[in-house]
């Protein structure tokens, strides 16, 4: 136990002196991810809520040909603007999202009760352009319907005659559920923060130590290899935990600047969230530390280990992707699956619910058992003769 502590403190001290490790483990993850998430989230919300309420600026060519139409559209939220010299060029050059062109023959057709054509110039491959064109088209259709109904009434026909069918949309998606999709990546980012926090130590204490040729002298000391491994794992897990704690605080701070209220959501990333998330993550951090050390133990060099671990980093992405693509209903047993359990638990916290005690227990136990299994495997590898032999 004493020896394990000695190894632990030495690894902590040595790695705190390594700028690369400190930057990556304690700064990059915990600060970069929350900022990234904040920006992503707010952009997404703004994009979704952009429509409806905002005025829609539209350059109108030939506004004088249809003053009534322009006035009606203006009432619906369009802001007519000066016509560009070339409507096509303005849209193609991305200066305007959509341009309305009212041809000279508009008035004569209109007055004769014929169908009058107007043209929408837009670029459907551009998201903003497409959205604006759609809004403008809706306004035009609404106006056309109203006028059409008036004309029929004037001729003594019920407007219903021209409307044999009235489909009605009821989209069950809410801004809130669309937001939840985004949130499903938050648990992944939290796991990733912990992963990156421990990764550099896992490599440095195993593959790095072997590459620097210091593992053999270390193992010549009268200390069981299990103690050496324990000390190294403890150092790796500690860095991961500190990184994780900083990261969760980072997300809590970022949460204050997320425009969640615009989705009618309440995002509570307070003390409660912090405590339960950390609790759920502790066994996973242990599991990751063992897994990273195990993988690094097979690598001959720091670089090789880094390559392996970059691949391993994709695994925590699976539950997030799965939940995003197939939003299945969560079952109790899923909490016992490492990663998935944490994902579900954190998602639940994000929705402002408290995971049940049984679910929390399953989550902790499942990950702890997995950690113990990987620890045993790592211990086996550590006990092998080939571990220390560099050449």
């Amino acid at each position: 136990m004493h020896a394990a502590l000695t190894v632990f403190w030495k690894e902590v001290r040595e790695n705190l002196r390594d700028r690369r490790t400190v930057m990556n483990a304690l700064l990059r993850g915990p600060f970069l991810f929350p900022v990234l998430f904040l920006v992503m989230f707010n952009l997404q919300i703004s994009a979704q809520l952009k429509d409806a309420d905002k005025p829609l600026p539209v350059p109108v060519v030939g506004a004088a040909n249809a003053p009534n139409l322009v006035a009606a559209l203006t009432q619906m939220g369009m802001v007519p603007e000066a016509a560009p010299r070339s409507p096509d060029g303005a849209v193609r050059g991305q200066r305007d999202d959509v341009v309305l062109v009212i041809p000279p023959g508009y008035a004569s057709h209109w007055n004769r009760g014929q169908t009058a054509a107007v043209r929408l110039v837009y670029d459907s491959s551009r998201r903003g352009s497409n959205q604006s064109a759609q809004r403008l088209r809706q306004m035009l259709q609404r106006y056309a319907q109203t006028v059409g109904a008036q004309r029929m009434v004037a001729r003594g026909i019920s407007p219903a005659v021209a409307l044999p069918l009235a489909p009605e949309d009821r989209d069950q998606a809410t801004p809130r559920s669309r937001g939840a999709l985004l949130f499903s990546f938050l648990p992944y980012l939290i796991v990733l923060t912990a992963f990156l926090g421990g990764m550099y130590l896992a490599i440095d204490t195993t593959a790095g130590e072997r590459e620097r040729q210091s593992l053999e002298p270390l193992l010549a000391n009268p200390v069981p290899r299990s103690s050496v491994l324990l000390g190294k794992l403890a150092a790796t897990a500690s860095f991961a935990l500190v990184s994780l704690a900083l990261g969760v605080v980072g997300f809590a701070v970022a949460g204050r600047y997320m425009h969640v209220h615009r989705l009618d959501m309440v995002l509570d990333l307070g003390v409660h969230f912090f405590a339960i998330t950390l609790l759920l993550m502790v066994p996973l951090v242990l599991l990751l530390a063992c897994l990273q050390t195990l993988v690094s133990a097979f690598a001959k060099s720091y670089r090789e280990a880094l390559t392996y671990l970059s691949l391993l980093m994709l695994i925590p992405l699976l539950p997030s992707l799965l939940l995003a693509v197939i939003p299945f209903k969560s079952q109790s047993w899923m909490y016992a699956v490492p990663l998935l359990g944490q994902q579900l638990g954190i998602m639940r916290l994000l929705r402002g619910e408290m995971p049940g005690a049984a679910d929390i227990a399953a989550c902790l136990l499942g990950s702890l058992v997995a950690a113990a299994v990987v620890f045993a495997a790592t211990l086996r590898v550590y006990g092998s003769e080939r571990l220390a032999v560099s050449a």
Binding site: H2, A3, T6, V7, K10, R13, E14, R17, D18, E209, R212, Q213, S214, L215, E216, P217, L218, L219, A220, N221, P222, V223, P224, E385, A388, V389, S390
Partner: protein
């Protein structure tokens, strides 16, 4: 005292060590001499219990290395072939790390560090980080940390590898001093002059076997060669023809 009896170790089909026996006595410097790939490093690795022998026995001060590896390691100071330092720690911190792993208390650790830093003449580098140490400074630090627990037996694998003349000479002085203190010093080398200059006893290894075990001058007489180098070449040739 280190006793080796009929030690064997193979990797796949290669018999790296094939029945090695010798004794390294206290108060003597024993040289393990042999060409590259003769099995010196593998033999030493079994002595400091990094590897387990396939057959045979290793005893250090009478303790069996397979039965109680920790006790054996406690009695050994080891400078392995791989002698990497922790670059982000100072020389003193490198020494202290191993001292603590040996279970030394802080007072003893401090006292031993001071003694070794003086003995190895490394006061000027003691508090510098190992990053950027010269080869000589690295070896000094590695020897200091191997000796921090004041072991009775010392195993050095090619200790003068990469050292310049001055460093080699001061290392030699240091090893004599350890012998004078009654310690058992066992080192490996493929360099003849070094063995002549240092050893009380030479164990020549070729193809994983001991082909000669005697004092330097006895070896010379036995082969009828004028210099030890000639004797060495002669012994290796004889063993090769015997193997063929």
């Amino acid at each position: 005292m280190i006793e080796v009896e009929n030690l064997r170790k193979s990797f796949g089909t290669v018999n790296a060590v094939d029945g090695v026996s010798f004794v390294a006595h206290d108060g003597e410097i024993t040289g393990l001499l042999g060409p590259n790939g003769a099995g010196k490093t593998t033999t030493l690795r079994m002595l400091y219990t990094l590897m387990t022998p396939d057959a045979g026995r290793v005893r250090v001060d009478g303790i069996d290395a397979v039965a109680d590896p920790l006790a054996v390691r406690r009695r050994l100071g080891v400078l392995p072939d791989a002698r990497g330092l922790y670059k982000r720690l100072s020389a003193r911190e490198n020494i202290a790390y191993f001292g603590r792993l040996h279970g030394l208390d802080e007072a003893t650790l401090r006292a031993r560090s001071e003694v070794l830093i003086d003995a190895l003449d490394m006061r000027d580098i003691a508090d510098r980080r190992a990053e950027g140490f010269s080869q000589g400074e690295r070896v000094k630090t590695a020897i200091a940390r191997a000796l921090v627990h004041d072991p009775r037996n010392l195993i050095l694998d090619e200790p003068t590898n990469g050292l310049d003349v001055m460093s080699t000479r001061s290392l030699r002085e240091f090893l004599f001093r350890l012998r004078g203190e009654g310690r058992c010093v066992l080192f490996s080398s493929h360099i003849m002059q070094e063995v002549v200059a240092l050893c009380d006893r030479v164990v020549v290894i070729a193809h994983g076997r001991v082909v000669a075990d005697a004092a330097p001058q006895v070896l010379r007489e036995r082969t009828g060669a004028a210099s030890l180098e000639d004797a060495f070449v002669e012994i290796i040739r004889q063993s090769e023809s015997a193997a063929a």
